[in-house]
């Protein structure tokens, strides 16, 4: 396992800027999740670390050694592709064994059998080992594709939305499994996702990308509680953070244009009067959809609440976050 450092990485595809001056360090043994919408540069970052693409400028250090000139094989990285990319002419077993048979690993036959069996067990695909790779469901293909990375012991695992096409149960199982693997092997993982639950539950650090720029890098808690912008604040939290005009509540600092308020940071009982539009009982909690003028907000309350739709409530902010005209954070 190794530390990976990106220094001032720039990458364009034609006139399309994919990454603009990105610097970050993926510490040894960490689980770094890159968050951002499509086109933010997440996959490009993975491809640059893997060696499939070369940066236009900047350096990539793996264990302190400049890797830009190295081939993917020399970098000894494993990657889970978003499109699975299983070898269609091989069986599941052969797919899993493929990296082990490579000239850089040359694993013995018994070792291959053992590792493939182990990984298949973990990913619950043992019964499909002799299937052709093309005879699998989407979820099974995705698990094989994760397995093809896990059979190895590379310097860094690169994962591009590896859990996106799994059902909810399997996804939560594999979240725990990936976290366990990372913790027990001390593996370094660079992970791309849209899913904020994956980011919150697995990440040791989260990198938030916006149009090819790394806007914030920190622990999930830091980004959740102390975001640098509306954009970063909106990446984490479900339901999403509420954005209100700054004059909605009194006490906004100078220059503030909007207030960001997490649903759980709204106090009921005093302050601004709002109308309840909808009440969603989720069992463990209740979501209240509130409305005032044209503004919609969501807050949470206890599960056995008696609040009815149409009822008028008073709300006050608890930990408001203030943002300026560009969406950047203004600390009061």
């Amino acid at each position: 396992m190794a530390e990976v450092t990106l220094n001032n990485i720039c990458k364009s595809f034609g006139s399309q800027v994919a990454l603009a001056d990105v610097s970050m360090t993926v510490p040894d043994g960490s689980f770094v999740v890159l968050l951002g919408p499509t086109g933010a540069g997440k996959t490009t970052t993975l491809r640059l670390v893997s060696g499939l693409d070369k940066p236009d400028s900047g350096t990539i250090l793996i264990d302190g050694v400049d890797a830009v000139a190295q081939s993917p094989a020399q970098r000894n990285v494993a990657m889970v592709f978003q499109q699975y990319s299983l070898y269609p002419h091989l069986s599941v077993r052969e797919n899993l064994a493929f990296p082990l048979k490579s000239p850089i690993l040359r694993t013995s036959a018994e070792e291959i059998v053992r590792k493939v069996g182990e990984v298949a067990e973990t990913l619950q695909i043992s019964h499909k080992l002799d299937n052709k790779a093309t005879e699998l469901s989407g979820g099974e293909m995705q698990r094989v594709s994760i397995g093809r990375a896990l059979v190895r012991n590379p310097r860094i695992y690169l994962m591009d939305e590896p859990l996106s096409s799994l059902d909810a149960k399997l996804r939560s199982d594999l979240r725990i499994e990936l976290k366990r693997i990372q913790a027990s092997l001390g593996a370094t993982i660079l992970y791309v996702t849209h899913d904020q639950i994956e980011a919150m539950t697995m990440a040791t650090q989260v990198g938030v990308l916006d149009h090819g720029k790394l806007v914030q890098f920190g622990t999930p808690r830091e980004i959740y509680e102390d975001p640098v912008s509306i954009y970063a604040a909106s990446r984490l939290g479900s339901p999403k953070i509420n954005i209100l005009p700054a004059d909605f509540f009194p006490g906004a600092p100078g220059g503030a244009v909007s207030i960001g308020l997490r649903p759980e940071h709204i106090r009921l009982g005093e302050g601004q009067e709002v109308q309840t539009v909808r009440v969603e009982h989720l069992g463990d909690q209740t979501r209240l959809h509130l409305k005032i003028n044209d503004l919609n907000l969501i807050t949470l309350t206890e599960s056995h609440t008696q609040i009815q739709p149409g009822e008028r409530l008073k709300i006050a902010p608890q930990f408001p976050l203030y943002f300026g005209s560009n969406g950047e954070r203004i600390k009061s």
């Binding site: 081939s71 993917p72 094989a73 990657m79 070898y87 493929f98 990296p99 490579s102 000239p103 093809r148």
Partner: protein, 313 residues
């Protein structure tokens, strides 16, 4: 029955469709069946008018094809021992004896060597070139591809004289090597273009996965791209073989002895002892076999190759 039906066709519809297909097959196969039948006719039956559909089968054509014969006088015949084999018997019945083997076998072997040899090189070089054109940034790629295709745009006679003179200078006239080189050059345009289409269809991600899995570019090509291009390679090989096998113009011009292929040789049979149509037909029938066997062997791939592009996996 009106318009389109999404239900299973009725029994009657199936019968009509089957009948139409069989009729079409019979019409297109007619010349082929005619040639095969003629090969088994006696020389008299072969030129009978009206043509005989039912006839006494005879192997005389095949015997004539593979042997050279000399006429003998009845006095001489009396001194000879009776024929030992069935083919000697056939020849003796005409008042002739077998003088030796004909050159057909050797011409046929030339066709096999030149046909399969050039197919191998066309497909081998074509695959490598197509991979490069498909995957790498090649300078003036489009112009190069057009240039490669343009070699196929002129009729062989247009380049026949220059090639004839060049081959005489280089000592390639009437050699196996010369013919293999020539057919490879002509077929390369076909194979590069066909194979580029097939390789373009193979997503790049598989090679990328192999690169990440610790393989070199060439190993990724060999272990991941090649197996998936098998269909394309097989159908390209069939097209190349059919061209090289049937090629007549260059063969007539550039070969006369050592490396003469079967196509220019078969017509020369006509001149040997009158118009021996059964022997010509027998030569053509045997000549058909290798391509037929090769095509049937790779049939599964060929079907996919022909419908290529129309079917989305």
């Amino acid at each position: 029955m009106s318009g389109y039906s999404v239900t299973e066709p009725s029994k009657r519809q199936k019968w009509i469709a089957g009948l139409l297909v069989i009729t079409y097959a019979l019409v297109t196969l007619m010349p082929l069946l005619w040639v095969i039948a003629t090969g088994f006719k006696s020389p008299e039956d072969s030129i009978a008018y009206p043509p005989k559909v039912v006839f006494q089968p005879s192997l005389e054509g095949y015997v004539n094809l593979f042997t050279t014969q000399t006429r003998i006088t009845p006095d001489m015949e009396a001194t000879l021992t009776p024929p030992k084999t069935w083919y000697e018997q056939i020849v003796r019945d005409k008042g002739m004896v077998i003088a030796g083997a004909s050159r057909y076998g050797q011409r046929f072997l030339n066709s096999v060597i030149i046909g399969f040899g050039s197919t191998f090189f066309s497909v081998f070089l074509g695959t490598l070139a197509a991979y490069a054109f498909s995957r790498f940034k090649v300078p003036i790629k489009d112009d190069l591809l057009f240039f490669i295709l343009s070699t196929r745009m002129m009729p062989p006679v247009a380049v026949a004289i220059p090639i004839f003179l060049m081959y005489r200078q280089l000592g390639l006239s009437d050699t196996h090597l010369g013919m293999i080189l020539l057919y490879t050059a002509v077929n390369l345009s076909l194979s590069v273009w066909l194979l580029k289409g097939f390789i373009d269809e193979i997503p790049l991600e598989y090679e990328e996965a192999a690169l990440i899995d610790g393989y070199t570019r060439f190993q990724a090509f060999y272990k991941v791209v090649l197996p998936q291009a098998a269909t394309g390679i097989a159908s390209t090989a069939i097209f190349c073989l059919i061209f090289a096998w049937n090629e007549y113009a260059f063969a007539v011009l550039l070969t006369s002895g050592t490396a003469q292929t079967a196509p220019p040789f078969i017509p020369t049979i006509i001149g040997v002892g009158g118009q021996d149509w059964p022997a010509v037909a027998a030569g053509a029938t045997i000549f058909l076999l290798p391509v037929m066997i090769f095509t049937i062997m790779l049939r599964k791939h060929l079907l996919r190759g022909i419908t290529f592009g129309a079917v989305r996996k």
